[in-house]
């Protein structure tokens, strides 16, 4: 079994960093989809099967919170796990996001922290997964 993951971040460099971390994480990867803002993210969600969304908040055109609100209103998208990876530092805004049922990881993050959050969200046991690899 492998996971299709959608990355939504306006920084191409940050998308590369996350992709690099995903490849090194040992998570069985299916398709990696990329969008540069919430609007592109929603289009990809509507046209592809996605198991996990990793999204930035601060983006032009449509920000991550608006994308999340649109996902929550959509029967087909509302249950997809979302990990928000953002520089957002305001506790009030982070609480508001968490109340919408997403995980939050602050930039800068260590690769291990990102990997652990994803394993947790996908419900994969990291050690079992590693044992499978060998």
């Amino acid at each position: 079994m492998s996971f299709n993951i959608l990355l939504v971040d306006d920084s191409a460099v940050m998308r590369e960093i996350i992709k690099k971390t995903l490849r090194l994480s040992g998570i069985p990867l299916g398709e990696l989809l990329e969008g540069a803002n919430g609007k592109e993210g929603l289009e990809l969600l509507n046209n592809n099967w996605v198991d996990l969304v990793i999204a930035d908040i601060n983006m032009p055109v449509m920000d991550g919170e608006e994308m999340l609100d649109a996902m929550k209103k959509d029967e087909n998208l509302k249950d997809i796990p979302v990990l928000v990876v953002s520089t957002e530092g305001s506790e009030s805004r982070i609480e508001r996001l968490k109340a919408k049922g997403v995980r939050f990881l602050r930039k800068p993050f260590s690769p291990e922290k990102l990997r652990d959050e994803i394993y947790d969200l996908l419900g994969v046991n990291y050690h079992e997964q590693r044992a499978d690899d060998f």
């Binding site: 920084s11 520089t87 530092g89 009030s92 993050f109």
Partner: protein
């Protein structure tokens, strides 16, 4: 919060961010270094309880290494990629600095980072400050913060508005 305390918080965030993001170990300096080498500068503007800008200036050679480390690649990097990497650095720095200085419950809007060719003098004034950092191999990076109002006013309001 005094200006010295602000500088110390910003220094901690800068060293921590570059360590995590680019495996770059920096030491804050007591003085602003005068950089002779060709550099790249990037800036973000922010709005919210306080308006202002934050700027990062990095020598080109060091900037290339930062981009390579962030992306996990060895080859020489195109200038546009180097620029994007620094833009993401200043974005992350600013996102972490604002709540630390002005209150964790305040909501700021951070604009898109952009490159600047010439850095207009953000000297250590009542509206802002600069801090320089040295890398292990002797390169100098400089981070500056400039507000629309005085630092003293801004930090007082921040303390009054935060719960911690």
């Amino acid at each position: 919060m005094s200006k010295e305390q602000m500088i110390s918080k910003v220094s901690d965030i800068v060293t921590d961010t570059f360590e995590k993001l680019a495996f770059l170990f920096l030491v804050p300096l007591d003085q602003i270094c005068v950089e002779e080498e060709e550099s790249i500068s990037v800036r973000v503007l922010f709005e919210g309880p306080h308006k202002g800008s934050m700027t990062l200036k990095v020598p080109i050679l060091k900037a290339q290494e930062i981009a390579q480390n962030m992306l996990g690649i060895d080859d020489a990097t195109e200038e546009s990629v180097v620029e994007d990497a620094l833009k993401e650095c200043i974005n992350i720095l600013c996102g972490n600095v604002l709540p630390e200085l002005f209150g964790k419950r305040e909501i700021f809007k951070i604009g898109r980072p952009f490159r600047i060719d010439l850095e207009e003098g953000v000297d250590n004034s009542e509206r802002g400050f600069k801090v320089s950092f040295e890398s292990e191999d002797g390169y100098c990076l400089t981070v500056s913060l400039l507000l629309g109002s005085s630092l003293e006013e801004a930090s007082k309001e921040g303390e009054a508005g935060s719960n911690d």
